[in-house]
């Protein structure tokens, strides 16, 4: 019992970070009034960059940072289209979702002659924390080890939730960001630079999505494959809508998805239920939870609307 619980918690802690990083990114973008369905593509380019840079430099933290920057680059592209050029945000995001994975796999083929990057050594992956602190062996030892000996990205993501929450609700930047997503014209009148705020938000969302992608290829797995990220960006967006556009809400939603994945790992091993049906659980659960508890989520008023300064 304790063993299974430990394994489930471990699985949650392993599978949540990619979603949660991307969801935090999505929070920034959506709250500033820019829909970003390009999260998926930004995660993919981050996933590739993280794995490739870690392979060459053997420095996981530097690779992790590069992954974020790669995501941010595509975030800047999305920001340019949507903020400066007033492009339809959904169309631009769709374009990113074709472009970024295309670039990732193209570069993989050019650098490694294969659509997959080579497997990383354990030392090149995200470091695991507190490895020596807990001795496995006993039931409780294993349990604690499962819970606390995790990839550093896992710890980082939960710290990030707090940081993002703080930025959103306790700093001037965050309040302005949210105001820009609600009523850009009023903000403009008060002297807030709407364009700059939205640029910042979308680029940050790309950065965090890139980190999320790197969690897949540098923690969960040890290499980039074209299907590394597949779908997780969209789930992250779902988590944000589900979490009512708040970082803490998105965290609970991501944990729910992570838990379902955890259950899949545990239940999948004993073949009682079809693994395909178990995989379906998170999505069905989301729909049911939405019907029962959440209902209408309040979208930031200016979400999806390009802002044009009047002359």
């Amino acid at each position: 019992m304790i063993d299974s619980l430990g394994i489930i918690i471990y699985a949650i802690l392993v599978y949540t970070p990619p979603l949660l990083f991307a969801a935090l990114g999505s929070c920034f973008s959506e709250n500033s009034g820019v829909i970003n369905i390009g999260i998926e593509g930004m995660m993919t380019i981050g996933a590739f960059t993280g794995a490739a840079v870690a392979y060459y430099t053997h420095n996981p933290w530097f690779a992790f940072l590069c992954a974020g920057l790669a995501g941010a680059a595509f975030g800047a592209l999305h920001a340019m289209a949507t903020v400066s050029f007033g492009a339809d945000q959904t169309i631009s995001g769709t374009a990113i979702n074709f472009l970024a994975p295309g670039v990732a796999v193209l570069l993989a083929k050019a650098l490694f002659n294969s659509s997959d990057t080579p497997a990383l050594d354990t030392t090149d992956k995200m470091p695991i924390l507190f490895n020596d602190l807990f001795q496995g062996g006993s039931t409780w030892g294993n349990f604690l080890k499962n819970i606390f000996c995790n990839y550093s990205s896992t710890y980082l993501v939960f710290v990030s939730v707090f940081v993002v929450w703080f930025v959103f609700y306790k700093t001037r930047f965050g309040m302005r960001l949210r105001a820009v997503g609600e009523h850009p014209r009023a903000c403009d009148t008060l002297g807030i630079n709407v364009y700059a705020m939205r640029y910042a938000a979308v680029i940050i969302s790309g950065f965090l999505s890139g980190l999320g992608g790197a969690c897949v290829t540098m923690a969960i797995a040890n290499q980039f494959r074209p299907i590394s990220v597949v779908g997780q960006g969209f789930i992250a967006i779902a988590a944000v809508i589900f979490g009512k556009f708040r970082p803490q809400g998105a965290m609970w939603a991501c944990l729910l998805f992570g838990m379902c994945t955890g259950l899949k790992v545990v239940l999948g091993s004993n073949n009682v239920i079809s693994p395909q049906l178990i995989s379906m659980i998170p999505y069905v659960v989301t729909v049911i939870v939405l019907i029962l508890f959440v209902g209408k989520s309040r979208v930031p008023s200016a979400n999806g609307k390009p802002y044009q300064k009047t002359k």
Binding site: T94, V230, A238, Q276, Y283, T286
Partner: protein, 352 residues
Amino acid sequence: MNKINKFLQSRAFLTLIAILAGFIVGVIFLLLVGISPVTAYAKLFDSVFSRPKNLAYCVVYATPLIFTGLSVAFSFRTGVFNIGAEGQFVVGALAACSVGILVDVPAIIHIPLCFLAAAAAGALWGVIVGFLKVKWGINEVLSMIMFNWIAFYLSNFCVDEIEAIHTDGTADATKNVLDSARILLPESIRSFLAPTSNYGIFLAIAAVIIVYIIIEKTTLGYQLKAVGFNKSAAEYGGIHVNKAILTAIGISGLLSGIGGAVHVLGMGQRISVFAAQEGFGFEGISVALIGASSPVGVLFSGLFYGAMKYGGSRLNLIQAPSEIVNIIMGTIVFFIAISHVFQIVIRRRGGK
């Protein structure tokens, strides 16, 4: 001069610019990875146009995309963003495949039955989402993403675990659909076209015409568009908004579902366990955008996408990465997204 100016400001011209931009960016990336753009584009062009057989393949590749493109375009016109075309396509294909395997009747009944099942499945998949939206106000983009994945795993479950349709062989796939359900062209014609050439393209053209008529010429189309433009105004005008939303999503889903049927009864023949989403629905979004959400535009952009997809798949033969096609298509969509900027530039030039 006036005529030229008018052309320069038209959507068609902007689309051409976007396509040109796509190929230019493609050149940059090909150079970046050390492949001669001339060789790669020659291969791409050659794979599409060199023989009637290749063109026939392009049409086969394009047919399902025309359906999902129409589906998404229809949703855009009616104010819904059907990101769920992927799931609707999958359940449509699954329904058509199941009926194609399990029901043994003459072709004249069998084929319509398969299409009916696919259309119903696709429409249902859309309407459920519409129902969640109008009944509980649940964001349709969110629930469509969920239903894409539910369809994905539902299909995998059925293919994997339902004995009646699972293949007798070792593959992770269904049996082949019965010959009476297949929509291939007669053998004599196929022998000099592609082996998988099918009637689907004629259905697609028919669908383009029907969708055009619904959107532009009927009261229903007018109502759906009105709701898409402005819900409150439409409601004041006496249009039943909730019913309109359900109808719009239903028709959109139906089109994607039929796309799934065309794919499985024409080219696919059976369904395999998916490792990743196949992307017909997502590619449909691009097709709709490149076709400016007009039915006729979708027909052409669908054919273009089909050609790029087929041509791209042949690039591997010269060791060029087929991902270049995704980059080109992504760039095209990106430039279409920002195309009105060019429009403004051209207009200013014209004004001077």
